[in-house]
């Protein structure tokens, strides 16, 4: 391999250079912006994590697996996984191999950054025989170009028929998205053409050499060579210039997001810092649209997380507000998201940004003290007060287990604070947390039992109750069965379990309620379940969804739950229970009720 052009330069590299400088400049600007927007301690934490070998290794591994290989997507949808990783990894390898070529054959050109990209134009086959390395590299280059081209071909098919890939709904690309998309599609076929036209000079692998031969059969001259290289460079330029303003921003952004997440940063602001990295990282794939329980109604499609990101990027304040308030905060979009984008947290942060003319203050409240002298306190919570069958069953089960217990909020107490938290009213929520904590500490109990997952989540995460175990009935009752404190007689009822959002996705409790149901009767599973369970529609998370607008969501969730023909629907949340009971065609029961019916003293 020898230099063919003495200067190592041709004007057609200029578009590429321009695009390259622009996109790198923009990314640098983005990184600085995000870093400046982080709070002082977050920034410190992030920078320290970068030099910590453990997190650094994890960063590299995660970036390689997720950004290049798309492992997570492979697991979810192999075709889509192949499509994405073929383009990303293939392209990556083309760049890497290009550099190796330069290094090996024309090392003095290393400083000319365009060289690896347009390598085939600038070199000619040397006079000597082909080396093994050269042949291998040519073969590899052609192989990866083929891989990328196969990915592009799949992408084109997906564009026309997304349903083949198992996606019901996807986002509509914006104008710039289309420009980016078409320029991306154009890059690799153009490269193929350019290299094809040049292969008789530069040499090539199994793909471009035959192509060159074909071209020369009817295009004898070399006039086509230069225009295709120009076109290739221009396509690259266009792609890189529009990239910051399109969904393709996710390519560089995710490389920023992964280290930030690994550093343990949390969303604290609805626009800035970590959130900015997240929003830029959203590839607009639209997986969250199908996942969203609201999308059962067409009118809600544009209130899903992908549109939240889009509107944050566009700065459409009105829509950001609407989308933030409508969401049920069920967390399913976060669960299915390839980049783990935390839509619910962004929304809560958005809600927290508002200023209110009226700020609630509970410091003057004097709630009744929690009963003292019992090891086990049961906090029924506001919602359970409206579903007395749950609290009654809980009490009965506890009595059967021979426990010394008492209800903490028998005559009504304070709210746990979770509803305020989801509404972004953190200061107010903290007041309630403080007051409730004092009540619990003063009671001298060592276990706090909750039948409401909404309460459970906040008690578990935000309350600091040293020496008090916070436990949900699902966990606690399962233990009672395990330890033999309760004797359970298996019935023949077939139950399906609905995972409440706050218990499953929110608190990671999936197995215990299923085990209880398995002991009480027969468990039938319904799809989707566990981490992808469909919200009942009653969630307190949504601020603006009215009663009538929720009905379809509830019915949709019920439809999926009852597909396996269960006798009864079991759940472990008073709000899910009340919501389902409105429209269900069969019994809806709390696990406590079910257990109470089939258990006796151990």
């Amino acid at each position: 391999m020898i230099d063919r052009v003495a200067s190592g330069f041709h004007p057609f590299v200029l578009p590429f250079l321009f695009g390259m400088i622009f996109v790198l400049g923009y990314c640098l600007y983005g990184i600085v912006k995000i870093l400046l927007q982080l709070s002082h301690e977050d920034r410190r934490r992030f920078l320290l994590s970068l030099i910590n070998p453990v997190t650094a290794w994890k960063n590299i591994k995660d970036i390689f697996l997720n950004c290049l290989l798309h492992v997570k997507l492979w697991k979810r949808n192999p075709v889509l996984g192949y499509m994405h990783s073929s383009i990303a990894f293939g392209w990556f390898m083309l760049i890497v191999l290009g550099h190796i070529e330069v290094m090996l054959f024309v090392p003095h050109r290393m400083r000319q950054v365009w060289y690896p990209i347009f390598f085939n134009y600038f070199v000619a086959e040397g006079p000597g025989p082909a080396t093994v390395q050269g042949a291998l590299l040519f073969t590899l280059m052609d192989f990866f170009l083929l891989v990328v081209l196969s990915g592009i071909a799949l992408a084109m098919i997906k564009r026309v028929r997304s349903r083949i890939f198992g996606m019901r709904r996807t986002t509509r690309p914006s104008f710039l998205d289309r420009v980016g998309l078409y320029s991306l599609w154009a890059i690799f076929p153009l490269r193929l053409l350019a290299e094809g036209f040049t292969a008789h000079i530069s040499g090539g692998g199994f793909l471009i050499t035959p192509l060159n031969w074909v071209f020369r059969q009817f295009l004898g001259d070399q006039l086509h060579m230069l225009p295709t290289w120009w076109a290739y460079s221009i396509a690259l330029c266009i792609f890189m210039c529009v990239l910051p303003f399109t969904r393709y921003m996710h390519i560089p952004a995710e490389m920023m997001l992964i280290p930030m997440r690994n550093a343990g940063l949390k969303i604290k602001h609805a626009r800035r810092g970590f959130t900015r990295a997240m929003v830029w990282s959203c590839p607009n794939c639209g997986v969250c649209i199908d996942a969203c329980p609201m999308s059962v109604k067409k009118i809600n499609l544009k209130d899903t997380t992908v549109y939240l990101n889009r509107n944050i990027r566009r700065g459409n304040e009105e829509r950001i507000e609407q989308i933030s308030d409508k969401c049920l905060l069920c967390g399913k979009c976060r669960e299915v998201c390839q980049i783990g984008l935390d839509g619910p947290s962004i929304r809560i942060a958005q809600r927290a940004m508002r200023s209110y003319g009226l700020n609630q203050d509970y410091t003057s409240f004097r709630p009744a003290p929690a009963p003292a002298g019992h090891k086990l306190l049961y906090f029924a919570g506001c919602m359970t007060q409206l579903t007395p069958r749950i609290s009654k069953a809980v009490g009965s089960v506890l009595d059967k287990a021979g426990l010394d217990w008492e209800i903490m909020d028998k005559d009504g107490g304070l709210c746990c604070g979770r509803p305020l938290m989801t509404a972004g009213r953190f200061v107010q929520a903290k007041q309630l947390i403080r007051q409730n904590s004092e009540l619990i500490r003063a009671s001298g109990c060592d276990t706090l039992l909750l039948s409401c997952p909404i309460c459970y989540k906040i008690f578990k995460e935000r309350y600091k109750l040293e020496g008090v175990r916070v436990v949900h009935t699902a966990e606690f009752f399962e233990e009672l069965i395990q330890t033999g404190a309760l004797h359970v007689e298996k019935g023949d009822i077939r139950y399906v379990f609905h995972d409440p959002c706050e218990l499953g996705r929110g608190s990671g409790i999936y197995e215990q309620p299923r085990r209880i149901l398995g002991r009480a009767g027969y468990l039938v599973e319904s799809e989707p379940n566990r981490a992808e369970s469909i919200c009942c529609g009653g969630s307190l998370g949504s601020l603006t969804l009215g009663f009538a607008q929720r009905e379809d969501m509830t019915r949709n969730a019920l439809k999926h739950l009852t597909e396996g023909g269960p006798d009864a629907i079991a759940t472990a949340c008073p709000l899910c229970l009340a919501t389902f009971s409105r429209y269900a065609d069969r019994a809806v029961q709390d696990i406590a009720e079910i257990l109470d019916r089939v258990s006796s003293k151990g």
Binding site: Y356, L358, P367, G546, A578
Partner: protein
Amino acid sequence: MEFGFKLSPSSAVNLDQVDLSLYERLAAIEPDLRICMACGSCSATCTAAPFTGMSVRKVILDLQRGKEKEAAKMLSGCMLCGKCTMVCPRGINTRHLILSLCRIYGTKAKEEGK
């Protein structure tokens, strides 16, 4: 001159002069506000009622009668727990109503330059 007694302000609500701007603003955001039939379920179930006498029914009524201060006082104890939403026979989204109202108080005060 000190008489030892004073004119007491009228407790009557003069619907000719009542300021419904807050009510109308809220109705624009949460139209279901209008369909309250004052059954009182929300008041009876309210977690905050024992502490501040909170009652969504009374809040709506006070707004309809232009009594913004009285409404604000009750609202100051709402914990947003959502029980009222659960029990409302007309399916009014009371939590949104309350949150929106708390915000409007702010925007209105800002407009009036307070």
